[in-house]
Symmetry: C2
Subunit: 312 residues, 2 copies
């Protein structure tokens, strides 16, 4: 299928073509750059929400609630659920995804899980591209759900306009949350499973921590939800809208998205340069031996490779 055809299908909102295009992103297909330039002028309309938090925090259930909230307001939704690729998991995670089947027959909802086949750079580049595809296909809202709380998630959250960080009462105390390094990326905190013991304390702890670190104009609100009991959904929705309204004044959203695009280009460029570095290393088969025999140290080796890169 030619990029031109794929682009047309995306712009027409053809679900099968959209799914195919996202597979192209996953695989890093060579036609991507052409496809990207064909749809790019039709992007920038969708609002993007990122959902991150520890495994088991209830992100999939919250995504379902968000879909419901959006649909009841007549907004179309696209969901990208990031799946880690592991020889151990295989299809195991699909179970989570199945919980979203409630919306499977609704044409206003498109759900797609995406494997993290590549490395960090790969995913950091794949997610914005997949968002643009859903955006160009006419989705009002794109939700990106990630699996964990590590560096990948922080990278992925950068692709969102509003990032929700989900914690649970008893999912470790405040310090544990801070340890995960995800406090800074939250625009809204969700304390999910709020029917459990310790929910009020978790809300209070987060609010205290937010107060400590605050130097922005935006103070991330803390919202208590119980996704399985469908409680707190409207408050969560309102918090997202409040953040969106905050971004939409004084050109903040434009600024945020501009910085994101620049970051993406920088990542693309450095990925290419990284490949060049790998090629240069490969061209020097004695390097490992020299390093192992301590005849050359890593700094000196890297300087030698860089000198070679400059003279090419």
């Amino acid at each position: 299928m030619k990029p031109q055809k794929v682009a047309e299908g995306i712009l027409a909102g053809d679900r099968r073509v959209v799914a195919r295009a996202i597979s192209m992103v996953e695989d890093g297909a060579p036609e991507l750059s052409e496809l990207s330039s064909l749809i790019y002028s039709n992007t920038g309309w969708a609002y993007t929400i990122g959902l991150t938090g520890a495994p088991g925090a209830g992100k999939s259930s919250l995504t379902q609630q968000l879909i419901k909230a959006a649909r009841s307001r007549d907004l179309t939704v696209g969901v990208i659920a990031i799946d880690p690729t592991s020889p151990f998991t295989g299809g195991a995670l699909l179970g989570d995804r199945l919980r979203m089947q409630t919306h499977a027959t609704d044409p206003g909802v498109f759900i797609r899980s995406m494997a993290t086949r590549g490395h960090l750079g790969g995913l950091a580049l794949a997610v914005p591209e997949a968002i643009r595809i859903l955006d160009a296909s006419g989705r009002d809202l794109v939700i990106v759900e990630t699996v964990g709380v590590g560096q990948i998630e922080v990278e992925v959250a950068k692709s969102a306009d509003t990032t929700l960080v989900v914690v649970n009462p008893g999912w470790g105390d405040s310090i544990q949350v801070a340890k995960a390094g995800i406090l800074e990326i939250a625009d809204v905190f969700i304390v999910n499973k709020a029917d459990r013991e310790g929910a009020e304390r978790a809300v209070r702890d987060l609010e205290t921590m937010i107060g400590m670190g605050l130097d922005d104009a935006w103070a991330p609100p803390v919202v208590a939800t119980s996704a399985t009991k469908e409680e707190g959904t409207d408050t969560m929705w309102d918090a997202i809208q409040a953040h969106r309204a905050y971004l939409e004044v004084e050109g903040r959203l434009l600024l945020k998205r501009g910085a994101r695009l620049l970051n993406e280009v920088e990542e693309m460029v450095s990925q290419s340069l990284k490949e060049r570095a790998a090629q240069l290393l490969e061209a020097d088969p004695d390097l490992v031996t020299s390093l192992q025999q301590r005849r050359i140290d890593p700094y000196a080796a890297s300087a030698a490779i860089l000198a070679r890169a400059a003279t090419r």
Copy 2:
């Protein structure tokens, strides 16, 4: 202090100099490359153990147990505890570190926490260098303890000869462990807090998952411990030694370390190239505007920047 002096201090095992050298690594001091080349020929002796797992899994207590086990066998130990840098945490994590104070007066033990001030590349480079400093200072064993289960931890674990992945019973089911993407990096699994309910099940689940994904000659053993009750330490120690023995036949350890060094050089080279890319982006102030106004897409922008990089 001149690199020559620092190197001498390290080789003499001077604790204050070692601490200072690790600060240089944290700060990315310009003298590092000289220091690195001065001590490099004295490295490669220490055996490195990586400890990773979810926040709160009990890594610090296990580290303490490992220190004890090593000291009772007359081995000297160096510990690097990776601290995330966050405006929210400040010195909060030092509390964990204090628990290690049991060994604070033992000259055979050197404990140092290291902040992740830089980005991923920075830490991926800083940890191997810090390990080499402890190695050159005469430590028999170097333990690297990380805080979370994300990409950074996976990167850091690559610096270790034997990586322990710590889970808890009830820390989420097997799927949650798999989700965190840390199954592949484990040489030994530790089910800590094994006095809690569900420990046997956690051990069994892990063993099943290991059986599923196995295509290596080494099957990661699963060891149940209770670090606070000091149970299981010897079994853990033996599992580490078994893995070490496995690595030491057929040149596996040499191969593993060689690949690691090469990876480190590659990372150094690509970091330098990345900086070059950032400079090129900065030199083009209209780029953001062009991207925002959809006059150029990220792929085309990156190609343009790369073309410029090649002609420099």
